[in-house]
């Protein structure tokens, strides 16, 4: 009898960067993990720029700083729409917004994280006090619960999520180093296809099951991406 305990599940998830970005087409919605470039999947972003896709909708907490990580997608005019919580350190965003080339929806950072989590967890929306009485609430419904008012924010999902991890095993289990986990964790749950860039691809068992942060069942493709800034 074949039982599931005989041997580890086989993985064919490890692909080249080119194979990975073949899953991203112009016009798609793409989530990219990271915070000010820290935890961006740098190699995959480079390859996406090289591939020449356009009219992307990008969901990312920020647009990094000029020349670093996701900033390149802005600078190379790959985006049509952007959901972000902060764009102030990348001047190209304001330029393209003012020129009418880029539509930007600003979203409080905690709400953005929670909307993505809701998208990945099958929840209908997020009921948050954040944004009430501000421009963020414009046009959005509110819900009264036990005498308190909450803003109803809708879930966010993407066609493809591009995430980054420090150690990723061949089944896609991810361990994040330092502050790189940021939005990568929720984004891994909220896209039809999840591509994870590994600083280090490690053997099965190299990450104790207690220390896995993103379970491999969420990851479709793994790219060995190398290391940002050495080591």
């Amino acid at each position: 009898m074949t039982t599931t305990t005989d041997a580890p599940v086989t993985s064919h998830k490890l692909v080249s960067v080119a194979e990975a970005v073949a899953h991203v087409e112009s016009g798609m919605t793409v989530m990219i993990g990271g915070f000010m470039g820290c935890g961006n999947p740098h190699q995959v972003v480079e390859a996406l720029c090289a591939k020449g896709v356009t009219d992307l909708t990008l969901i990312a907490t920020d647009t990094s700083r000029p020349g670093y990580g996701v900033a390149k997608l802005v600078e190379q005019h790959r985006l049509r729409k952007l959901y972000a919580s902060h764009v102030g350190l990348n001047p190209a965003v304001a330029t393209q917004m003012n020129a009418g080339e880029l539509e930007v929806e600003l979203c409080p950072q905690g709400t953005l994280a929670e909307r993505i989590r809701a998208g990945g967890a099958g929840l209908g929306g997020v009921l948050t006090p954040t944004g009430l009485g501000t421009p963020v609430a414009d046009g959005k419904p509110t819900v009264e619960i036990d005498g308190r008012t909450f803003l109803l924010e809708k879930p966010l999902r993407a066609d493809v999520a591009l995430i980054s991890g420090y150690k990723i095993d061949v089944l896609g289990n991810v361990w994040y180093r330092g502050t790189t986990r940021n939005f990568n964790v929720v984004m891994a749950t909220a896209a039809d296809v999840v591509i994870a860039e590994a600083d280090h691809v490690v053997p099965l068992g190299a990450i104790p099951p207690e220390d896995v942060v993103t379970p491999g069942v969420l990851v479709d493709y793994i790219v060995e991406g190398g290391v940002p800034g050495g080591d």
Binding site: T4, T5, G120, G122, L171, T189, P209, V212, P215
Partner: protein
């Protein structure tokens, strides 16, 4: 190694154990290599024993194991149990997760299939499997989330309860979820829940179509050709 077909038997040989094996073998063929799967307690836990060669599934224990495994005698740990509260293990390449994360995977559509038993199923795919008012009130556990969230919901059960049909025009017991069941596998056959009602797609050749219909309170459309479930 598993043969992925059950032997054809005569009706007299259909004891409890054989019935369970027939059902488990057939459900096993619904699973694809790499599927992320949650199996209810009881009969569904037999399914991994019958997976076709080359098919490995990633079992979840919804209390917190991705790639759950069994536990040999003497290997029990108070730190690792499965969703039935029994000693279990996490296989190499698996992960331990908390309950919110676990049900995020379940509710979020990340689970390819769940297989579980039923008290009643009806032709709209409604499922009742958690409560008999005035009698059994154990609680729904994770079942309601599982049947709402999994991509494929497979009911694996005996066709009747002491001769009384369990596949009904409309469930009479309180529901576990509405219109959630995709496939019903019993010892008599395989029934798909479609927008046009229940379709018998495969039959256990020891039964006639008339016998299956007689044991089913809901109307059954019989597929042509009608396959064998064995």
């Amino acid at each position: 190694m598993a043969t992925d077909r059950a032997p054809v038997l005569d009706k007299a040989s259909l004891d409890k154990g054989t019935i369970r094996e027939i059902i488990a073998r057939r459900v096993a063929r619904e699973l694809k290599d790499g599927d992320f799967v949650n199996l209810g307690i009881g009969l569904p836990t037999m399914i991994p024993d019958y997976l076709p060669d080359g098919v490995r599934v990633v079992l979840e224990a919804e209390n917190g194991i991705v790639l759950a495994g069994g536990c040999g005698a003497g290997e029990e740990s108070p730190y690792v149990v499965n969703a039935g509260g029994q000693p279990a293990s996490c296989q190499v390449g698996g992960a331990f997760i908390d309950s919110a994360t676990s049900f995020g995977l379940i509710r979020g559509g990340h689970m390819d299939a769940t297989v579980l038993g039923a008290l009643q199923v009806d032709q709209a795919g409604n499922l009742a499997n958690w409560i008999i008012p005035g009698k059994m009130v154990p609680g729904m556990g994770g079942a309601m989330d599982l049947v709402v969230g999994a991509k494929h919901v497979i009911v694996a059960m005996e066709h009747t309860q002491k001769g009384a049909p369990k596949i009904l025009p409309a469930c009479t017991l309180p529901l576990t979820a509405v219109a959630c069941v995709d496939l019903i596998v019993t010892e008599m056959g395989v029934i798909e829940v479609t927008p046009h009602g229940l379709v018998l797609t495969e039959i256990n050749p020891v039964f006639t179509v008339d016998e299956v219909c007689a044991a089913t309170a809901a109307e059954l459309t019989v597929a042509e050709p009608l396959g064998s479930m064995l």
